[in-house]
């Protein structure tokens, strides 16, 4: 159990003063804090509690106080004000070389490390033997530290820190979630830890971890607790970090924030929303916004491709139909050749790739991906710049902006898991799509279009890579395959690169694909395919909407917001396309079954064509 009661942590920037204070405190501890402008407030009035076997993820930018919280939990620091109650043993997981001397053998060092981590004397030989076996280092037991590779030692230390049982585990920027062999070994143990112990994960960026593994989430900024509550309700709020208060200029500002209503409100409370009043207010807001003859600009849309297909375009369709908007007075702003999707709405379209040079677009795009700001919860400086270019080009002064953040605000409520699917259906209109596409030259007849990319619902793991390789290898032996791999990353999804196989044509081989036309080309390939096979994410959502028989895969349905997106998509698709879509969890199906389903889908498509 972890309990923080009004905890503040103040560091004196003057080391001499700090040591003098510590010396006096060893004899007589007073509540007196030396006031100084140079004091560093690492934490300010933090209160939260975590029960046994609950898990907490703490997100915040650097210098927000995460490491201080970790130290307070582990007992490596004392609070300046307030009280910290910890029940149980704690473990700060890391791979630092703690206490190693050159003459120690690996076995002796492992014994020392295990005892430092609280292993029992009786089971020490068994523990050391197990760890060496698991890390495949038994033959190195008698090798001295001085002669042992540092990287292997770090791995051994890390694994020891998670192997020895503890009541509370703290991962301070040390949460391993990589796909190496060692990483997967650690993942298995970490999964076990999350189920059986209390876990606190502190990170400055989002971590790919199944949502059902995390109970609570906390957002920190500049030592202040901004949000604390259930993971699903707090996660969307994290994306609004750029809306947070500016860094404090003085201690007075910090004090004010501490006493502010926002801080008190968000402490310990989940955000509960009255859906019906939210819906009424939202629609009234949109009514007021759109109730003018000004030109409407929707966009610029630069977020996930999948969100654009299943949410953004249906959202625009709903706006047009619900508010009876003039399509001639409506411009859609998107990128990478998405015009083909907006054509059906009858809107004017401007592509961002026409406003910037390819180099500028790539730089802007990579910057967004590296910052993790794919979802557009607010308008960024780059987007403001793009809008000003559009306004200048069209010589427009007055306009109404429908920014994707209006949609993401709705989605935040939807993703919180407190609202039913009908809630979001009140704001979108999902329909099958009829697109006018041209046949691409160089494409074979009766091909299967495939799209495999790595995303939270299909992470880049050894198992997933193996599945993908085996599936494509089997498919390429029996069918003609066209891959949507382009070498171009349109959003946060990472294309899976696989070795060239016979019978697989990739659109990048056509040498006509650019940032400007990638989505159009991919749409062409999908719409002319006999069958679509891919990961249920991104452009894969388009295939069933085009009426193309689709078999999509996932390996982790519960990651992030995917569970909600899946439910929404399946519900809407079932309204108009009963037999054209199959969604498969790869952990439940053998490869032979999957190939059988693919063959069956292709045969039924062929027989339909003959009829």
């Amino acid at each position: 159990m972890i309990e923080f009661n009004n905890v503040s942590k103040i560091y004196y920037s003057d080391i001499e003063k700090a040591r003098k204070r510590a010396f006096i405190d060893t004899f007589w501890q007073s509540n007196f804090i030396v006031q100084s402008e140079k004091n560093i407030y690492a934490l300010l009035d933090i209160s939260f509690s975590l029960k046994e076997k609950e898990s907490l993820i703490v997100l915040g930018p650097p210098k927000s106080g995460k490491t201080t919280i970790a130290k307070l939990i582990c007992g490596l620091a004392q609070p300046s004000i307030g009280e910290v109650n910890i029940r149980g043993s704690t473990r700060l997981v890391n791979s630092a070389r703690i206490g190693a001397t050159p003459f120690m053998t690996i076995k002796n060092y492992l014994s020392l490390l295990s005892m430092l981590y609280g292993a029992k004397n009786k089971s020490l030989p068994y523990i050391c033997k197990n760890i060496l076996e698991i890390c495949d280092l038994e033959s190195y037991a008698d090798v001295r530290i001085a002669e042992f590779p540092n990287e292997l030692l770090k791995k051994l230390i890390y694994y020891t820190s998670i192997y020895i049982d503890s009541d509370i585990y703290i991962f301070d920027e040390s949460f391993k979630n990589d796909n190496s062999e060692f990483g997967q070994m650690c993942n298995a143990r970490i999964d076990e830890i999350i189920k059986t112990s209390t876990v606190v994960i502190l990170s400055s960026k989002e971590i790919n971890i199944p949502a059902n593994n995390i109970s609570k989430m906390m957002i920190l900024n500049e030592g202040c607790l901004l949000h604390f509550g259930n993971y699903e309700s707090v996660l969307p709020l994290y994306h609004k970090l750029n809306l947070l208060p500016q860094p404090f200029r003085s201690d007075e500002e910090k004090k004010e924030f501490k006493q502010s209503k926002v801080n008190k409100k968000t402490r310990h409370k989940d955000e509960l929303i009255d859906l019906s009043s939210f819906e009424t207010n939202y629609k009234t807001m949109m009514q007021n916004r759109l109730n003018s003859p000004n030109l409407i600009i929707a966009g610029p849309y630069m977020a996930d491709t999948g969100m654009e297909i299943i949410y953004w375009i249906p959202y625009l369709r709903w706006l047009i139909e619900n508010y009876h908007l003039d399509r001639n007075n409506f411009i859609a702003l998107s990128r990478c050749g998405a015009e083909i999707w907006y054509r059906e709405l009858g809107l004017r379209y401007i592509d961002i790739c026409d406003l910037l040079s390819e180099q500028e677009f790539i730089e802007m795009h990579n910057k967004r991906i590296s910052k993790g700001k794919i979802k557009q919860f607010s308008i960024s400086d780059e987007e403001k710049r793009l809008l000003s270019i559009v306004l200048e080009k069209l010589a427009i002064k007055d306009y109404n902006l429908i920014h994707p953040s209006f949609l993401f605000e709705l989605l935040s409520v939807f993703w919180m898991n407190t609202s039913p699917i009908e809630f979001i259906n009140n704001f979108v209109n999902v329909k099958p799509t009829e697109l006018f596409v041209k046949n691409l030259s160089g494409m074979p007849d009766n091909y299967i279009a495939v799209n495999f990319s790595f995303c939270p619902c299909f992470p880049d793991t050894l198992k997933n890579r193996q599945f993908m390789k085996e599936l494509l290898s089997e498919l390429s032996k029996q069918f003609k395959i066209v891959s949507l791999n382009s070498g171009i990353q349109v959003d946060g999804h990472i294309e899976s690169n696989f070795d060239p196989l016979n019978n697989i044509i990739s659109i990048k081989d056509l040498r006509i694909v650019t940032y400007r036309n990638i989505l159009e080309l991919q749409t062409n390939v999908i719409s002319n395919a006999s069958l679509f096979v891919g990961i249920h994410s991104g452009i894969s959502y388009l295939a069933p909407l085009l009426g193309i028989k689709t078999i999509n895969f996932y390996s982790d349905k519960n990651s992030g917001t995917y569970a909600r997106n899946f439910s929404f998509f399946e519900t809407n698709l079932s309204n108009f396309s009963k037999n054209s879509f199959l969604l498969m969890d790869i952990s439940r199906y053998q490869l032979d079954n999957i190939i059988y389903e693919i063959r069956r889908a292709l045969e039924s498509h062929t027989s339909m064509n003959h009829n």
Partner: protein, 265 residues
């Protein structure tokens, strides 16, 4: 301002951890030297020999009873003093050696004291060998009181630890105490009748009489080879004094450690 950490630790685990911490440092220290463990024997002999030589020259043992060999008298005094002073210095030495671990892992701090005790016990084993050799060389017969004096050796350790555990957390903040230990060692050596017999009068006698260490060294030494008997009662009072200091030191140690660990540089 409280940080309550509730933990239940098995005593065997703590002792084992203390042993591992001791062995880690012990191995490192002696492996880095050419003569290795032989230094444990060389040190007390090298300290004692010049003092004994000078002491014999200036007749430091003049106040002793006749028949008491000065060399044995002085060497035994040095051994007992060294046992005491090792217990003063080793806790602070070891705590500085494990400070990198203290910054990263919260483990039972008492294991550091245990580790320093293992160091002292190792040295004690060497001193006992030297003691036995001394008894043999100077033909000192073994009585019941000889056994008693050997049983006093752990009390000397506790007396030294009572000061050692008190100063060890402070050495994580300030090194002044560590630097001054050699000075304190010299002052203590000459204000305690280690290599000289207790004077019959004068200022030095007053200093010796009020120094509790006097009784911890004189009484066991008297029980082995004779000399001046300072009285079992004063010896018992010294034991009580140092025991209380030990308990107080422990309390201060547990209180101070969490505070100073944050400030480790």
């Amino acid at each position: 301002m409280k940080s309550k950490i509730f933990r239940i630790q098995n005593i065997h685990d703590i002792i084992r951890l203390g042993w591992l911490l001791f062995f880690r440092d012990f191995q490192y220290r002696y492996r880095l030297s050419y003569f290795g463990y032989i230094w444990a024997f060389i040190r007390p002999v090298a300290i004692a020999l010049p003092i004994i030589f000078v002491g014999k020259k200036f007749n430091f043992g003049q106040n002793n009873e006749p028949g008491v060999s000065y060399e044995a008298f002085a060497f035994l005094g040095v051994i007992f003093f060294q046992i005491f002073f090792d217990s003063v210095t080793y806790p602070q030495m070891l705590i500085r050696r494990v400070r990198s671990i203290l910054k990263k892992i919260a483990f039972p701090y008492i294991s550091i004291i245990l580790a320093s005790s293992f160091y002292v016990l190792f040295n004690l084993s060497v001193y006992i060998i030297l003691l036995v050799i001394t008894l043999f060389i100077f033909n000192i017969s073994i009585h019941f009181s000889t056994v008693l004096s050997f049983l006093c050796l752990p009390l000397l350790i506790i007396a030294g630890l009572s000061i050692g555990i008190f100063i060890s957390p402070i050495t994580l903040l300030y090194l002044d105490i560590r630097y001054s230990l050699s000075i304190i060692s010299g002052i203590l050596l000459w204000t305690t009748p280690v290599v000289y017999a207790l004077p019959k009068e004068g200022f030095l006698r007053s200093v010796n009489v009020w120094n509790p260490l006097t009784y911890l060294i004189n009484t066991p030494r008297f029980w082995i080879i004779g000399g001046i008997d300072t009285g079992a009662w004063f010896f018992a009072l010294s034991i009580i004094f140092f025991s209380l200091l030990f308990l107080g030191g422990l309390k201060y140690y547990f209180r101070a450690m969490p505070i100073v660990i944050e400030k480790i540089l």
